[in-house]
């Protein structure tokens, strides 16, 4: 009698079982389903009860309010906005302001953080101590206090518009913010912009040619004078042929404030300064830790190849350190974005201030508005995380890790 091999269990079922049930097998899976069902039931009860009771007390609910007219002014709007627009528009205005602070803040925090972090490791005693002092001072003071410090103590002590500090009667600095001439587009703008784009592309092409020359024949080709010439020269030629790309509208003092020109409001400056200096202190520590995690033999190897300290850092140490730096750096970016909601203390019209603040108190629909706001912050954070993960994956791949 032939012994028949037992039918092996289907691969698919085994995989599914492992994925869903883990070690406990199907009974564990059933428990998980029960637990999820229980959570869903609780969620449903909370929503249904809240709805019923809101209706019983005749508190307005639902999302219809988003189409109502807002009827209040906002001091900084990146997209066109007037008092007769809807609450949806207010939401978008607030969101744009939040994103602006987050992006500009992250940009400056990263640069400052890397400089301070490298400064702490510098062999120069004074530089290292100054960088260390900066980190210890800034990260040990509450952020809200720092925002108020920049806003009230630093920017608040600037002169009023009538006595503002001016440069060539074109740029004015006062306690109402920084006023600069406003560019008005003209016919030559398209050609001008196109010239810049072409120049940048050409500069990149030159760079890759220089690299190829370096790797293939060991020749060092100096490209930066050519690139500079292209980037300045092409637009100038375009300007001569097609006319002025922009003219400037000069600000002038009229009544209480400046009329004409563009203005950077002090709330934005104070918030960005506070957020980026504060976050930079944390980034500096992350950068220092990341670099110290790279074995010092790498530094010595670079030196023995005849590279300067700067080149060794840039070409050898930092790329390896980045793998360690990126995850905590992402955390800091997320913190900065979330901390921007402290803007309400100094009247910067961010999402939290105009939507979860003014709109909430005017419509009274706390549950809907807080839910939307939380959802948006979550979404911004998840997108930031995804971008940073992608970057980390690319670095890992390029280093063969």
């Amino acid at each position: 009698m032939a012994i028949e091999a037992r039918e092996p269990p289907s691969q698919f079922v085994a995989k599914l079982r492992r994925a869903l049930g883990g070690r406990a097998g199907w009974s564990g899976f059933a428990l998980q389903i029960l637990f999820v069902a229980f959570l869903l039931w609780i969620g449903y009860e909370v929503v249904a009860n809240a709805r019923a009771n809101l209706a019983a007390q005749r508190v307005a609910s639902g999302f219809g309010f988003l189409n109502n007219t807002a009827g209040f002014g906002v001091s900084q709007t990146l997209i066109p906005y007037s008092e007769s627009d809807t609450y949806t528009r207010v939401f978008l205005v607030g969101l744009a302001n939040t994103l602006l602070v987050a992006v500009v803040g992250i940009f400056f925090a990263t640069i400052l953080g890397f400089l301070v972090g490298l400064g702490r490791l510098s062999p120069n005693w004074l530089l290292a101590k100054i960088a260390g002092g900066y980190v210890e001072l800034i990260r040990n003071l509450p952020l809200l206090f720092q925002i108020l410090f920049w806003y009230l103590a630093v920017l608040g002590s600037l002169p009023n518009p009538r006595q503002s500090v001016s440069v060539l009667d074109a740029v004015f600095l006062s306690n109402r913010g920084l006023v600069i001439p406003k560019p008005i587009p003209h016919d030559g703008l398209a050609a001008f912009a196109l010239a810049i784009v072409i120049a940048i592309i050409a500069a990149f092409a030159l760079r890759s040619y220089a690299r190829k020359a370096l790797f293939d024949s060991g020749r060092v080709v100096r490209v930066w004078p050519w690139a500079l010439g292209l980037i300045i020269g092409l637009p100038v030629i375009a300007m001569v042929i097609f006319g002025k790309p922009v003219t400037f509208e000069m600000p002038e003092l009229k009544g209480f404030n400046f009329a004409g020109g563009s203005r950077v409001v002090p709330e934005f400056v104070a918030l960005t300064l506070a957020l980026s200096t504060y976050t930079a202190a944390f980034i500096a520590e992350i950068v220092r830790a990341g670099i110290q995690s790279v074995h010092k033999g790498q530094m010595e190897a670079g030196a023995s190849l005849g590279l300067t300290r700067g080149s060794t850092l840039r070409l050898i140490v930092v790329p390896q350190a980045l793998r360690v730096i990126l995850p905590p750096l992402t955390n800091q970016y997320l913190n900065l974005t979330k901390n921007s909601s402290l803007a309400v203390a100094i009247g910067y019209p961010d999402l939290f201030s105009v939507f979860a603040g003014t709109t909430l108190s005017q419509t009274g629909q706390a549950i809907e508005i807080i839910a939307i706001t939380m959802g948006v912050y979550l979404l911004i954070s998840l997108i930031t995380s995804a971008i940073m993960s992608f970057y980390g994956w690319r670095i890992g791949r390029s280093m063969g890790a």
Binding site: G71, G73, N175, G347, G364
Partner: protein, 338 residues
């Protein structure tokens, strides 16, 4: 402040689910032995802690009058300081029993927030505070001005309406609390601080040189301020409403903190009804027969409350104006106790 909003919203979402449907506020308050009253975070004359840390002001006295009517003890009040934007959520979620926080009565608040206004304790209007050095004499000269305002108030919309209606440009900077708003105005960030006129006088006391600042003559809106309760509990609404009416009626009848015991012995039919020596009007409210004398003993009548907190007897020194009794040229008027 951020966290307050969030906490209150969570309380609202979950709390509404459980408790709010049983709307027996008077019983809840009696069982707790304490009235929970929402007030401002510090507005001199209306609700602010005095130098000994005890809350004082017109809005505070309203809370004390309610506590006196319920417990015969004006000290049985827990004061909950709230920012303008957190105040309604606190009331909706049941965190407080009554909101007495210089709040303007408007149609949209009355209908869509799930609250009921109980009456008007102060007839106010919105005005502008400016530096005298600007040499501005009228609000119509404020074209292109920067304006500081507290967020979550009717003031924010009024100022938009006013400037649009008069074809003037403006820049509005909205802050979370009154203190932050005043500080920004003081630092020169704004040319103008706008709020209810009573509040302008109160906040002017906080700036470095009050004499350098002036309130412009224009009053651009109607701001009737009064306490609020939650929808759906008519008995509690009556208690708060009639406490206010009792204060005004007491002034009209000449009952004061000093003479209340003497007046209670009067034979006048009207006074007998008020003091409960004839009939049981107080008990129909769910209170006691002597509810009016309890209230007046605790806080005095409306006129006394006004004088002590915002009127000539206080630092603010605001004239009675519209808040005078109806038979003396104002519009304060209460239905009769009978």
């Amino acid at each position: 402040m951020k966290h307050t909003t969030l906490a209150l919203t969570v309380a609202l979402a979950t709390g509404l689910a459980a408790t709010a449907a049983s709307a027996q506020t008077l019983k809840t308050v009696k069982d707790r032995g304490m009235l929970s009253c929402g007030v401002s975070q510090g507005l001199p004359g209306f609700s602010s802690p005095d130098d000994k840390g005890a809350w004082a002001g017109l809005d505070v006295d309203v809370c004390r009058a309610i506590a006196a009517a319920v417990f015969n003890d004006p000290s049985k009040v827990k004061f909950v300081p709230l920012s303008a934007k957190d105040r309604f959520t606190a009331l909706q979620s049941g965190e407080i029993d009554v909101l007495s926080r210089n709040t303007t009565w408007t149609l949209s608040r009355d209908t869509s927030l799930g609250v009921n206004f109980t009456g008007v304790t102060y007839y106010d209007g919105q005005g502008f505070l400016v530096r005298k050095s600007l040499k501005v004499n009228s609000a119509l000269e404020l074209n292109s001005a920067s304006i500081c305002v507290q967020t979550g108030t009717t003031n924010e919309q009024n100022v938009a309406d006013y400037f649009k209606g008069n074809n003037m440009k403006y820049e509005v900077i909205a802050f979370g609390t009154a203190d932050e708003t005043v500080k920004a105005y003081e630092s020169g960030r704004c040319d103008v601080f706008t709020s209810d006129v009573s509040q302008l006088y109160a906040e002017r006391l906080k700036v470095a040189n009050p004499a350098d600042h002036a309130v412009l003559p224009e009053v651009i809106s109607k701001e009737p301020l009064g306490p609020l309760v939650r929808h759906g509990d008519d008995q509690w609404l009556d208690v708060v409403k009639w406490t206010l009416f009792a204060l005004v009626n007491a002034e009209e009848l000449g009952i004061t903190q000093k003479n209340v015991d003497e007046m209670a012995k009067s034979d006048k039919p009207e006074l007998k009804r008020v003091f409960g020596t004839d009939g049981n009007l107080g008990e129909t409210l769910g209170l006691t027969k002597d509810w009016v004398s309890r209230i007046v003993k605790a806080t005095g009548n409306y006129g006394e409350v006004f004088d002590r907190n915002v009127g000539p007897g206080s630092k603010l020194g605001i004239a009675r104006g519209l808040n005078q009794l109806w038979n003396k040229g104002g519009i304060q008027y209460a239905p009769p106790i009978r």
